[in-house]
Symmetry: C2
Subunit: 273 residues, 2 copies
């Protein structure tokens, strides 16, 4: 538990009860939506599942790129559990929707991968920016994607990641619009949560990071940006999906962008300074 | 001393020796330049001197506006010392250049106010953004005003301060251009030094805070802003000079914008988190 945590044990119990209930709904196939704004202050995670033969290179890829790929946990090969992140997580069914990549191409989406499971699969969980959205809301900042009931906007950029053998590619970012003064506060607030990508990596002119049309996200939904607002860009855990397109493993499973694994880790326990 | 300070006692001695030597040069009239980039990591201060009758209102003005007017010290009435900020400071001669306001109008500038000194004068010292410039440089950020050997650019804005009786007016800001990623780092770094205005209050479009021509600062010099840079705006301790124009005390003395009082306080001792 972080020395910065101010959660009471009742708050803690309530948050865990809520996330476990929601995860059971997801497991039962009763929730297939994006998870922005849900889960009462828990860390949400991006997920990448790869055959063992590909896992070591990918682990180094995460270590090379800690801002876009902040590693929370790695499973034992073949294990469908992620005990570190929650005692009862079953990685085969506890994500609202999965992307299935074959030879680097997205071939299908599904809400359960039990029938595909292989004994050599390794699961990686990476922190997600949805985790800090509640911190921003607590500070009075409005989140356009939540206000407009949309998935967050995500874009491919021209910012190269650091290659690890077969894994390489450009960084994907999530974008939230803010007025300048709110952007300045958002930077200070999100810097406290490095395991959820920390401070933004860009703000202002999207073209400077290779985004040519801000109204057409590559993943998720477009949201309104008002004239007095700046788009603020955080590194995103969808970055590995670009690296998988390039590495072309025979099979790879990820979450569908915006539809995350809800963990039992409370963000209040993970705050820096 | 801040628990965050990492200064060795040798560093500390060197910094104090350097600032005291520089202050003696200023006292002797041998230095009348802007003080950006000088003083080895010491807190620089804005200065306002007012007759006692006006001082209480101004003290509340500072308390009402702690971002633009972060109060470091207040003198006893009639005292030309500021012992809290440096044992040998003589406020009548230790600033490179003074502005003299009469009835709210700038009437003169001078390098020594000894001949004007009144027994009812109270001196206020407010933190200055020059104090965090060395922190930014240590982190590898370039400061255009120092690179171009110019005074920092300062602008009147449309951001109202909180009035205290006769003192009111809009906020003055200092501006430093940065790329977006450097601006994001500058926000995190300067947030650690609230006594030097802390994090910026605006970035990006100057018109949103009432600055219609960024190439024509109201105080200091214009600096180059490259196409991939954003102007980043910090609240500035010249704000009281606008409030003095409005309050119209019979006499008020300030520093000339950019020509600051160098104190014995080391910024490393004042860092938050």
């Amino acid at each position: 538990m972080s020395r910065n945590s101010t959660l009471s044990s009742d708050d803690r119990k309530d948050a865990l009860a809520e996330v476990q209930e929601l995860r059971m709904k997801i497991r039962a196939g009763e929730w297939r939506e994006a998870t922005s704004g849900v889960g009462n202050g828990v860390m949400q995670a991006n997920v990448v599942i790869l055959p063992k033969e590909w896992a070591d290179d990918f682990l180094i890829y995460c270590q090379n790129n800690p801002i876009s790929c902040p590693l929370l946990a790695v499973s034992k090969p073949g294990s469908c559990l992620l005990e570190q992140l929650g005692a009862n997580i079953d990685i085969r069914s506890d994500i609202p929707e999965y992307n299935i990549y074959r030879d680097g191409s997205l071939s299908d989406t599904t809400s359960d991968i039990s029938s595909l499971w292989q004994e050599d699969w390794v699961t990686f969980a990476l922190g997600c920016s949805f985790s800090f959205e509640q911190l921003l809301q607590r500070s009075g900042l409005g989140l356009r994607n939540i206000e407009e009931k949309k998935n967050v906007s995500m874009y491919r950029t021209n910012i190269e990641t650091k290659q690890s053998h077969r894994f390489y590619g450009n960084t994907v970012v999530s974008m939230r619009p803010f007025t300048a003064s709110d952007a300045i506060r958002a930077i200070q607030i999100t810097a406290r949560l490095p395991k959820a990508h920390g401070a933004p990596i860009h703000l202002g002119d999207p073209a400077l990071i290779g985004i040519n049309n801000i109204t057409q996200p590559d993943y998720g939904d477009a949201v309104t940006i008002y004239p007095d607002e700046l788009p603020v860009f955080w590194a995103c855990g969808v970055t590995p999906q670009v690296a998988i397109e390039n590495a072309k493993p025979p099979i790879a499973i990820t979450h569908v962008p915006g539809k995350m694994l809800l963990t039992d880790w409370l963000i209040d326990d993970m705050l820096e300074f």
